[in-house]
Symmetry: C2
Subunit: 445 residues, 2 copies
Amino acid sequence: MSDQTNPPDHDVPANDALAKGPAPKTSQQLGIPDPDRSSSMTPGLASSPISQRAGNVAAAEPYRLLNAFLTSSTYAARRNEPGICDLTFGNPHEMPQEAYVAALQEATIPRHDQWFAYKQNTPEAQEAAAASLQRLIGVPFRPEDIHLTTGGFTAIALALKAVGDPGDEVIYSLPPWFFYEPIIIEAGLVPVKVTVDLETFDLDVDQIAAAITSRTCAVIVNTPNNPSGRIYPPAVLERLAAVLESGSAAIGRRIYLISDEPYNRIVFDGARFHSPIEFYRYTLLAYSYGKTHLSPGERIGYLALHPNLPDYDVVASALDALQLAMGWIYPNAVLQHALPRLEQFSIDIPALQRKRDRMVDALQEMGYRVNRPEGTFYLFVRSPDPDDEAFVATLAAQGVFVMPGVHFETPGFFRISLTANEDMLQRSLPVFAAAMEAVGGAPPF
Amino acid sequence: MSDQTNPPDHDVPANDALAKGPAPKTSQQLGIPDPDRSSSMTPGLASSPISQRAGNVAAAEPYRLLNAFLTSSTYAARRNEPGICDLTFGNPHEMPQEAYVAALQEATIPRHDQWFAYKQNTPEAQEAAAASLQRLIGVPFRPEDIHLTTGGFTAIALALKAVGDPGDEVIYSLPPWFFYEPIIIEAGLVPVKVTVDLETFDLDVDQIAAAITSRTCAVIVNTPNNPSGRIYPPAVLERLAAVLESGSAAIGRRIYLISDEPYNRIVFDGARFHSPIEFYRYTLLAYSYGKTHLSPGERIGYLALHPNLPDYDVVASALDALQLAMGWIYPNAVLQHALPRLEQFSIDIPALQRKRDRMVDALQEMGYRVNRPEGTFYLFVRSPDPDDEAFVATLAAQGVFVMPGVHFETPGFFRISLTANEDMLQRSLPVFAAAMEAVGGAPPF
């Protein structure tokens, strides 16, 4: 994907590569092979010009929707206009923190001749990450438990590939992060979807238990949860651990838990975050620094193992081999050098919490149904119009952009990102109020 | 992999994450499941704790050898000792260029609020890369032909996954880059190996033709070649194109050519590099900036499409989908911002050429058989002892470290990297001379 419509001027705040021109894509541009066209363009060769694997990824509904949102939606056409309110993705809309820039600047100054040499897991980075994670979660992580990756994305892909073979099943709960399905499909695995309780947004552990089959290799849990903002409580995680333990015994195969927790530092009201790894040592913990510093373009994260994971060496060596074979998915040298400093700060969480409260209070007063999130960047709001895409289009027509619930396979909701700046949030409020009024006020459900 | 033996002191030149402690790994640590041990550690669960996929990658001979070299060899034990001569990997052994550091420094200074936001393909980076590639190769690349990746590694993996499905075959020539096989296996594909002519180091196009089957999805060609230093001449590339064209027609399926050319700027004697993409438009061109600036820890590269590739949109969209599903394998924001400057310089090629000449002249005078490479960092030298591992061990005992030919599936050779500094190269010469003498001089073959 690329945007040729952005001005090539570094000095304007429009150089976001996610930005897209308005040209709609055909099914072929989406990577879905059309045998007729292929054969006409490649005389004598009737087969598809791309792999079925690529076609499967491109055909996955969450990818298809996201791609359309980024390339052919009103948002795609207008996202770089001044004055719009961009409440879509977890992207920054204020200048980066000075501490962040300073950490990168320092890390680019070479102190020896190997500064920019090949890096796998640099000990200093592992030590800082392990110490910080131990402080947060209470599990005695050691430096060698940290497998550094190019962000949470590859950490999740790495975990899946380490424990699953093509045809194996991965269970996760809707509403999900919209990238799980493409990642799972690329790995040749099969997504198995259950739903959370849409009132409490808690995991439905019974549904997970019922979804386990002999092909289940992993369950993905995301806490604090995107999009709901829910932090799963210890009692739920304990029940989940028990279900995975008995499920593993029942199928004669270990079911791993992949804990996707990039928001584990983005928590409000002094809440104590609990990681699933506290309750189930067969947990592979995926973390990204991109949320903590609101710098998702700088790719660094890790997959952490429990120090008492059974078969530890076998699993750790599998990760080593895969990190190389998946394309040397270690973070850049500069970010590894910067990591000890990056562990010392985060974005301004109290300021984010104030944004949360202001938006939740205002939206609830207008009649919107929305839980007050315990963490993450997001509000997951009931759409007053059950057709969330129509409602989102109404907002978009007024320059307020949010993500419809269909992107999270949960129609009837929309997601707001609090990473919008204060001005955007302020200007969005009358638009939300007018949109509610236009549909005749809050529905009774 | 991680090195706990390095001092955590940024100020000493020992912070190379490839460095390893001397502890040997067992087959289990290499990720090869042992059902007995697994079942004993996981009561009631007899299945492997890792995927067969991970086990297959870890069991691949080139990975196994490399892992042992990095973890349990004399090199692993001694590589951080002062005074050794490290002629192994294409890693820097001098301080980074000022121009490189300046480019990174400038790129870390944010100029707008989206500076560190999610980046896919930023237009400025694509434009600079396309213009540079067009100047080098003469094909009229456009910005949108450039798909930015985290280095050549992921560019190759991306190409393979876009055109191959599990069970499909990938042909490449020995001696190969030692990472092809793990990457191919991770993608579920089947490596099919042919050999180059070991006198001229030219591709053996007839062998490639004979290796094509109905499952062939791609052929990988690496020019300028690691380890031989050969630049394949136009006549060879033309013959290859003809073979792939007729082979595709014969099997009713398009065979793609993956041109792995990270060294296409590292050429000597004013030679004109020719890319396979000049001769076959079904070429996916993988490039890495890590060689050009000798900064392999900073991961940026691309996969380029021919502007006249048939079914262009289908292939381009497949790459978009896979880049996301493989783990958001786009380069960091900072490196994308830096790319236009990075395109303006390289390491000092004349200095590298002088190193080449000095080493080739000296080694030939001692009786070593070695071709004068036309490009890359490497000399691929006939081992005077047919047992290259034994010969390499002799050198290692004297503190001179090179890579044995078995790492390139080509016993009877060893590889020297000219990225060693002048001092290391100078000190290595008497060791090479003594080793030749110890085996009784140059053999007659």
